[in-house]
């Protein structure tokens, strides 16, 4: 009985992994294939598609734009969402259910609706259709990804007593947040930052509708190429994965370096 169960779950996991991984492998193969129409495996391999992608004048522009938007969304999350979450946890705990609800809303609003609403409401200069409006939209839409892990981390530590000890020793709110609270919820902040970065980097609808051609992001370029040349599009997708991977590894590396004891303590709690 036990044994059958575990075989069953292994098979299930196997199917799931294949389902997730096959498209990635296929995309990767396609991006380095010379010709892959009639054979099971590609007829030859080349890096030409990458060359084409790199040489495209919009490649570095869109990549830079996407980095700007993603980093701005992460920074906005760090500077607005983290302090707000801390504030609500310590000073107005009664407002926490409200905030929880608010942080589900972005999931309920389709990106198209959000984009059109923002375009209509902020239809005045200089914000109308500006990168700033795009970033603001991305902040709203990625808010829950920062809020959830940070809120969970705050619940795992004794925020009240830590805050009061620091206050008692003469620290101000800024010092408490930066020196006491943030290091103790670092795993939550990092996973929040990672999720925000990854979702915003891959965001298409808002970018397409709000800024469009005036401030092209990487996913826009990718979609353009899917219409023109699938193999270059595949190369761009692989680059996009790689960026996400590097970002994750960088964040894991940073968290593994400075915060060993914190993680252990958070785990112990």
């Amino acid at each position: 009985m036990k044994k059958q169960n575990s075989i069953f779950s292994l098979v299930l996991i196997g199917i799931f992994v294949l389902y997730m991984i096959i498209p990635i492998i296929a995309t990767y193969m396609f991006s380095i294939a010379t010709k892959w129409d009639v054979s099971i495996l590609p007829e030859g391999y080349t890096l030409d598609w990458y060359q084409t992608a790199f040489d495209h004048p919009y490649f570095s522009i869109t990549l830079t734009n996407s980095f700007i938007v993603s980093f701005s969304a992460v920074l906005a999350g760090l500077f607005f969402i983290v302090p707000t979450t801390y504030w609500v946890h310590t000073r107005v705990p009664s407002a926490k259910p409200l905030l929880d609800l608010l942080m589900i809303l972005p999931f309920g609003i389709p990106a198209v609706v959000l984009a059109l609403a923002l375009i209509r409401v902020y239809n005045f200069q200089p914000v109308a259709r500006s990168p700033f409006l795009l970033i603001s939209g991305c902040v709203i839409f990625s808010m829950p990804f920062m809020y959830r892990p940070v809120s969970n981390s705050l619940m795992a530590i004794d925020v009240h007593t830590l805050t009061e000890s620091a206050l008692n020793l003469g620290a101000n709110t800024f010092q408490i947040l930066v020196r006491v609270i943030a290091p103790n919820i670092m795993p939550g902040i990092l996973s929040g930052a990672l999720l925000v970065f990854a979702t915003v980097f891959a965001e298409f609808t808002l970018a397409n509708l709000i800024t469009g051609a005036s401030f092209k992001t990487f996913p826009l370029l990718l979609v353009e190429f899917t219409k023109r040349d699938g193999r270059v599009a595949a190369a761009l997708s692989v680059i996009s994965f790689t960026v996400a991977w590097i970002a994750s590894l960088a964040i894991l590396w940073v968290s593994g370096r400075g915060h060993k004891p914190t993680e252990e303590v958070v785990a112990a709690h």
């Binding site: 000890s165 003469g170 020196r179 915060h259 004891p261």
Partner: protein
């Protein structure tokens, strides 16, 4: 005006009065304990001194400054919490240094102070360790060092030992008292453990439902409890219900007890006569002395408590306990008829209700 002065301080939580019209004067260098049952308002009082709660009425002054509405990070109070509130992300050294760093002291001074504080709490080599690498008792020592490092004007401790096991608790409370005396630091200590309060305090404030029941030295609190609550809460006291006959006598059942009756209690007043178990001696034959009060009864239970044995005796329906040493215990057994004797001076008479 006293060094730390609470005047008519009250605190409400919704409709619950946590602290009512509280007056307390603590002199510089004094060690005062707030003692009382759970929910009596000890923590709330301490938190008002630290600035974490704002009183609804009254004023708090510290070293001549009115601190009633001063924010907690500007008060210069050092607090030790019940839960080890050390910063888990910092080493012991950084924990102790924190208060000095956030207020911008020079590094050399901080290093020197940290060394001094860790020496005081006898953890000179723990600087590089993290809180989770320390025992509970060690963590509380670090918490004490951290609170003392800022040279607070008053040290506040909220049941700092209640999460520790009995042996560590007793050892550490003695150390806290010694450090307090060495540094001459004014201290307010919250506990619900009467033995702890009596053993280390200059003065004890016994609280009940947000009010002060009695304020006095440990001896006064123990020997002359002012209210029945204090008598019942501190140690163990026999309570013999009776009626005042005259200035020196109380009718207890069919017996007459000699006891000093305070002048505010007139004849036929309902009273309680309090006698501590250690003041009662136990005899297997009727004692001849006619100076002492003598009660006759039978032994109900014999409880071994280590250095003493507590004998509960049924005296015509009232349970009276007496503490005896091992030598006196040997001759006693269950259901044995015995005589209890105690001096009139060992009795304290107070109004019942």
């Amino acid at each position: 005006m006293a060094y730390l002065d609470l005047k008519n301080v009250s605190k409400l939580f919704g409709t619950v009065a946590a602290v009512k019209d509280f007056n307390l004067a603590v002199e510089k260098g004094e060690f005062v304990s707030l003692l009382g049952p759970s929910g009596c308002g000890k923590t709330t009082t301490l938190r008002m001194i630290a600035g974490f709660e704002m009183p609804d009425a009254g004023t708090i002054t510290l070293a001549g400054d009115d601190i009633t509405i001063v924010p907690p990070n500007k008060r210069g109070t050092g607090m030790v919490f019940q839960a080890y509130a050390l910063f888990p992300n910092m080493t012991v050294r950084d924990n102790v240094a924190f208060g000095l760093e956030v207020t911008g002291h020079p590094k050399a001074e901080i290093d020197e102070r940290v060394r001094e504080m860790l020496a005081i709490v006898r953890l000179p080599d723990a600087g590089k360790r993290y809180p989770h690498q320390l025992s509970g008792g060690q963590q509380q020592r670090v918490a004490l060092a951290r609170a003392l490092a800022i040279r607070p004007r008053v040290l506040l401790l909220d049941e700092p030992l209640s999460a520790l096991d009995a042996v560590v608790r007793v050892a550490l409370r003695g150390e806290i008292r010694k450090i307090q005396l060495d540094l001459g630091i004014t201290t307010v200590y919250v506990t619900h453990d009467q033995e702890e309060a009596l053993s280390i305090s200059d003065h004890v404030v016994v609280m009940n439902q947000g009010l002060i029941e009695q304020l006095g030295t440990p001896e006064e609190i123990y020997r002359q409890p002012k209210t029945r609550f204090v008598a019942a809460f501190i140690g163990t006291a026999n309570q013999l219900h009776g009626v005042v006959v005259d200035r020196a006598q109380v009718q207890f059942g069919t017996m007459m007890l000699r006891a000093p009756v305070p002048s505010n209690l007139s004849a036929s007043h309902q009273v309680v006569v309090l006698v501590r178990p250690e003041s009662v001696t136990i005899h297997s034959a009727a004692p001849s002395s006619n100076q002492q009060n003598v009660l006759e009864g039978t032994i109900q239970t014999i409880t071994f408590l280590g250095p003493i044995t507590r004998i509960a005796v049924d005296v015509s329906g009232t349970r009276v306990v007496a503490d005896v040493t091992a030598a006196n215990r040997a001759a006693l057994s269950h259901n044995q008829p015995v005589w209890l004797a105690f001096d009139p001076e060992a009795c304290q008479v107070m109004a019942s209700q």
